[in-house]
């Protein structure tokens, strides 16, 4: 099966939910004319990244009766295009999450709440947001998919769990500020993220799709560089940095089967062994400092 992927490497306006919604719809319409089946937007694509005290103002509920959310649901049906986008999610009890929704045919197939909140260096997320508690794969018309948001995939366990939960397509969204200018052709942190994504593709013999935003917030330059890694660990798409762009690429999902026939890492993976050893490592005797 072939899947035409659109990576909407956009520059969201900070706090501008209505303007950002309009940009989403414009990118979706354009992607439709390019025959895109699945369009992916970056982390917090509806709100901008450093929303800080704007959180309550920009938050929406992931419900069909929310006027903003409704329009994206409608677009997924109207254009027969699956849509993955980022937003600040409000729950019923005044808690806020960094969330990513996957919409298809006018329905919500899954909402992932970011499970790792970077709160160090220039990051301050757990000051404003609550932590997601679930890492779950879900079924789509293109196969089983897993979504993660930025810091989630800087930790090795969430992609690993999604892999064991059946995901053959890992979708990573981020708002990653550029840093680490040195003599290299790409920023130090761009190189690092690309190494990580390439490793996941190869280790999990899966597709790894990454959409990172561009633009500026208070001097931080988001580097873009959205990419697709195939199950052999090769980059199919990469290399457009800093510019707002819709990148499209058609992948052959049958490559997953061919790669796994050559390299049966999933078949031979031993989650029971891992769970047993993790339980031992997590047991009281082993976690208390000696």
């Amino acid at each position: 099966m072939r899947l035409n992927i659109g990576l909407a490497q956009i520059y969201p306006k900070i706090g501008g939910v209505q303007a950002n919604l309009e940009k989403h719809l414009a990118f979706i319409e354009r992607a439709a004319s390019e025959g895109v089946d699945l369009i992916i937007f970056p982390e917090l694509s509806l709100t901008g990244y450093q929303v800080m005290d704007l959180v309550p103002e920009v938050a929406i509920e992931a419900r069909a009766d929310d006027p903003i959310y409704r329009q994206l649901l409608d677009a997924s049906k109207q254009f027969n295009m699956d849509i993955d986008f980022g937003f600040v999610q409000r729950d019923m009890r005044q808690r806020y999450f960094v969330s990513q929704a996957y919409l298809s045919g006018g329905e919500t197939l899954h909402v992932h709440r970011k499970v790792y909140m970077p709160t160090y260096g220039m990051f301050d997320e757990s000051r404003y947001f609550d932590w997601g508690e679930h890492v779950r794969a879900f079924d789509t018309r293109f196969g089983r998919v897993g979504m993660l948001i930025c810091e989630d995939f800087w930790h090795v366990s969430p992609p690993y769990m999604l892999w064991l939960d059946g995901a053959d397509i890992l979708i990573f969204s981020s708002s990653s500020p550029g840093r680490g200018l040195d003599g290299g052709e790409r920023l130090g942190d761009s190189r690092w993220v690309e190494q990580v994504n390439q490793a996941y593709g190869g280790l999990f013999t899966s597709y790894v799709i990454h959409c990172n935003r561009v633009g500026y917030e208070d001097g931080k330059a988001f580097w873009g560089g959205s990419s697709i890694v195939d199950p052999n660990g090769n980059f199919l798409v990469r290399g457009v940095y800093f510019d707002e762009v819709l990148l499209t690429h058609t992948v052959d999902l049958n490559q997953v089967r061919r790669t796994r026939a050559r390299l049966p890492l999933l078949r031979d993976e031993r989650p029971g062994l891992m769970v047993r050893e993790l339980a031992r490592i997590r047991s009281k005797d082993n976690v208390e400092p000696t």
């Binding site: 900070i14 704007l54 003599g183 290299g184 052709e185 500026y216 917030e217 208070d218 001097g219």
Partner: protein
């Protein structure tokens, strides 16, 4: 097999620290150019403007900032202002002129001698430091006046070295709307300036605030930018302690004096503190990006 027969390779991981830092301070100038020109355009547009005003001293920092600004905004949208005092060197004016001509910038010259002397002459024993601060602050006033007249943002020209050292006048050269080269050490400013083809006379001359005849930065500071950039890079970027820097072979007195200087001038890099009395206070727990304008 005998132990003596085991073949050993000493893979030497120790590189001369100064060579290592020099290597790490090197920048890809294409990436830097892309990030910084994009930043300038972004900040100017978010302010609802299309233009910039820049004080052109004839030195490398303001020349580089002018080159980056002209590249992204267009030379016709950049107003270069030369603001000589009577003691300013002739080279400063001619080097600034070279930048203006090469880029085709809009430009004007506003001498500050009369306005500065109106204050300076009231205090016959005024120190050079006070005079220099007055000049820097008057230049800020001229630039902000032109900002209103020309409709342009006031471009900052401070580099990371001088921001860290606090080698600046608060509300003088630090009184600007944006700082495009504020995360580049002087060494890196030089590298980017060379890549952009800034006039050789500007690249080669000793850096100077030009506040009095014969003044040079390195003379006044007591060390070279090349040396201090190495120490600052380890302390700031690589998070070394002063003891770790000294253990790498840098002079103790030098390292300690640099770090002391960085710390005592921290107030120049922050907004004035607001005394908190309410439950929600600007800067304490009323937190929004500068870039958030609500527009």
């Amino acid at each position: 097999m005998q132990a003596s027969q085991v073949r050993v390779l000493h893979v030497n991981g120790t590189q001369n620290i100064r060579d290592m830092i020099t290597e790490r301070l090197a920048i890809n100038t294409d990436v830097a150019r892309k990030m910084l020109t994009g930043f300038i355009r972004d900040e100017v547009e978010k302010a609802g403007m299309k233009r910039a005003v820049i004080g052109l001293s004839g030195g490398i920092d303001s020349a580089l900032s002018a080159y980056l600004s002209a590249e992204v905004l267009g030379a016709e949208n950049v107003l270069a202002v030369r603001m000589p005092y009577k003691t300013s060197s002739a080279d400063s004016l001619s080097d600034a002129e070279a930048v203006i001509e090469k880029l085709g910038l809009q430009n004007m010259t506003v001498p500050i001698t009369e306005m500065a002397d109106a204050l300076i002459n009231q205090f016959p024993d005024m120190s050079n430091l006070r005079k220099g601060n007055i000049m820097a602050r008057l230049r800020m006033i001229v630039l902000y006046d032109q900002s209103a007249a020309f409709g342009g943002l006031v471009m900052g020209t401070s580099n990371k070295t001088e921001l860290l050292l606090g080698y600046s006048t608060i509300y003088g050269d630090s009184g600007v709307a944006l700082q495009p080269i504020g995360d580049l050490y002087k060494t890196q400013v030089r590298e980017l300036a060379a890549a952009l083809g800034i006039p050789a006379s500007i690249q080669q001359k000793p850096p100077s605030a030009d506040l009095w005849a014969g003044q040079t930065d390195e003379g006044e500071l007591g060390f070279t930018y090349a040396d201090v950039d190495q120490v600052l890079y380890l302390l700031v970027d690589e998070r070394y302690t002063t003891e770790e820097v000294i253990a790498e072979g840098f002079n103790r007195a030098f390292v300690e004096s640099v770090w002391r200087r960085v710390k005592i001038n921290h107030f120049k890099r922050t907004m004035p503190n607001i005394a908190k009395v309410s439950r929600r206070t600007i800067g304490h727990d009323w937190l929004y990006l500068r870039n958030y304008t609500g527009r």
